[in-house]
Symmetry: C2
Subunit: 402 residues, 2 copies
Amino acid sequence: MTKQGFGKLASLPDAKKILYSLVKDVSSEEIPLDDALGRVLGKDITAPMDVPHFRKSAMDGFAVIASDTFGASQTKPLELDIIDSITAGVVSKKKLSSGKCIEITTGAPLPEGADAVIMVEYTEKEKNALTIYKGAAPGDNVIKIGSDTKKGDTVIKKGVILDPRHIGVISSFGSAKVTVKKRPSIAYFSTGTEIVQPGEKLPPGKIYDINSATITNAVKEQNCELIDMGLVVDDKKKIKDALLEGIEKADFLLLSGGSSLGGEDFMVEAVDELGEILVHGIAVKPGKPVLIGKVKGTLVLGLPGYPTSALSNFYILVVPLIHKMLGIEKKKVNVRKKLTRKIASTIGRYEFLAVKIDGDYAVPVMKGSSSITTLSESDGFLEIDENTEVLNKGDVVGVSLF
Amino acid sequence: MTKQGFGKLASLPDAKKILYSLVKDVSSEEIPLDDALGRVLGKDITAPMDVPHFRKSAMDGFAVIASDTFGASQTKPLELDIIDSITAGVVSKKKLSSGKCIEITTGAPLPEGADAVIMVEYTEKEKNALTIYKGAAPGDNVIKIGSDTKKGDTVIKKGVILDPRHIGVISSFGSAKVTVKKRPSIAYFSTGTEIVQPGEKLPPGKIYDINSATITNAVKEQNCELIDMGLVVDDKKKIKDALLEGIEKADFLLLSGGSSLGGEDFMVEAVDELGEILVHGIAVKPGKPVLIGKVKGTLVLGLPGYPTSALSNFYILVVPLIHKMLGIEKKKVNVRKKLTRKIASTIGRYEFLAVKIDGDYAVPVMKGSSSITTLSESDGFLEIDENTEVLNKGDVVGVSLF
């Protein structure tokens, strides 16, 4: 039953192409804006109105006709009559004519006839008489109609992950609802006779399950719906049952362990017997033993058993897949740092290299893929493409942050 | 009732000092590890055991005594007897002696006597006879005890925001629980007669409330407990009632609007009458009209009414305050970009400048603080300190990402 190697490894781009072909774009749903944080916008937001939709004062002060105030200064103040006083939210019934002014607070609608606001700091008020110590030009301290957004402008594009700023923009149009992509559902289980769930006693030769913790939390962090199937023992019947259950419940099924070359690796056989294996082994480091299969048309993605490999492959395979399903257009910000040592990489193999950031430097963390602390001690990672054989000390590299 | 200016503005460092003096460090609680994502670690994690706690195979192959294999090659293979076959999680009862080997899968405990593993790829198995085509040095493909973590090592420091990597490390020790900081509770309300909640009809001169959406979501994004008190109209009695309710329920109270200099600004009076105003006006741009007060010993922090100012002050005042309460030691990664234009700043005033990132360049987004789209169109921000008067085109600046 021992297999003699993986055969030909798929390249990362080919593996991604296959993954992408096995999932559907998720559909959209309308939800309350209050629940929108972290969700992915399902359709472009086009401004239904100008914001602001009326001229308003940018300052506390007095609405004036600018030409009335020309030449006013500390040594040559001018006087105006105060004919009304309005606050934000209140529309003055008065119309301004020459020699008059209206007291106004920040955000209040500019009265008819007014074309500027003089800040309260440059005035002195005595009953209904206002002394002004500084002139205003037309438009001074006036917020123009549509200065924030103009009616019809596309202000947020679909595929954006909504954060407080975007939700604020949607609020400014008075919308209490928003159309977002549904959350992809991902089922997950770990396999392996050697693994024991945290909280239980550890028999000789066994280790605690790490991948359940890392992968289920990585799924949650991507704001997907997690169907946590826990630990399934290395028994072909049980694995088959779990595979069938997982593909029934979720958009796709993730699992870890059981896809290397060991004698106990029922996973490969189970997928093969229930469906089809499309890729077994990807040219990435760490994490060659990746399994891509489909069962009843649904994607089954087996991540490597090593914790670092499982999580790094989640970042390079699963995150892009989720983004694809959601249509996420995430702008990648290039954090550029200098490498502190030479890194030899293998031609033909895509490499994920964990790094610590120290000021302007990227320090490779090299404890090996069996070590979960490799990732917990780093700040981000480099991706070294298939065609790069060496990165030299001092090379400037782009780092993706965790 | 109109006030003639703010008086002396507090510097940002002074304002922060006062804020910090008004909050207590939050206490810790033990929670299930499954709920730990995004929570802040409450005490250092020290490894209670070596991980791994036994020598194990890094590969699928055959456990051997390395010296038995010296000199084996493709042209000069050697033979060994296979005396057992073990998989991960299983301890072999056999002890290895010279000339023997044990079939082993990745992760399985190394048998007694063995000191190396030969990868399956370099072997040929025929019943109980193994032909090996490559020699092994002692330690080859063996994962050492404690190679991931050593018993007694501090592996995660308190104050870290737990992500999948950290949760994986904690799992590796078999812990199903973790001690985290309690989530700070923050009450929030907006004020202003001019604002209307999204979903309602918009009367003349009024605008939709943006700050409720941005600030409540910013609180949620910081993983704090939000007590959302909605919109409180500009009426001193109602504001006083809301202030008293908010400080009762939360670690501190945030509010926005009502802290500028307008005639309807009951906020300042309400805080003054119920407690004490400590700061009114901070030397930051945008967002001078910040109010810091205390009522019955609890912090009341009034953010500016302008949406961009409210949110930028949240980032420069409230986020550091939350980090202080939680003891978060967040490593700041410096994203360095070149400015595309000259920026004049005011000496004595700390400036928050929103920027879009375009490759290696930071492009200032300058639509003004009344505009919420200033932030939604940008990728991050620069902080320009009080002593900087000008940043030149081409200057390399550090950008904090949203």
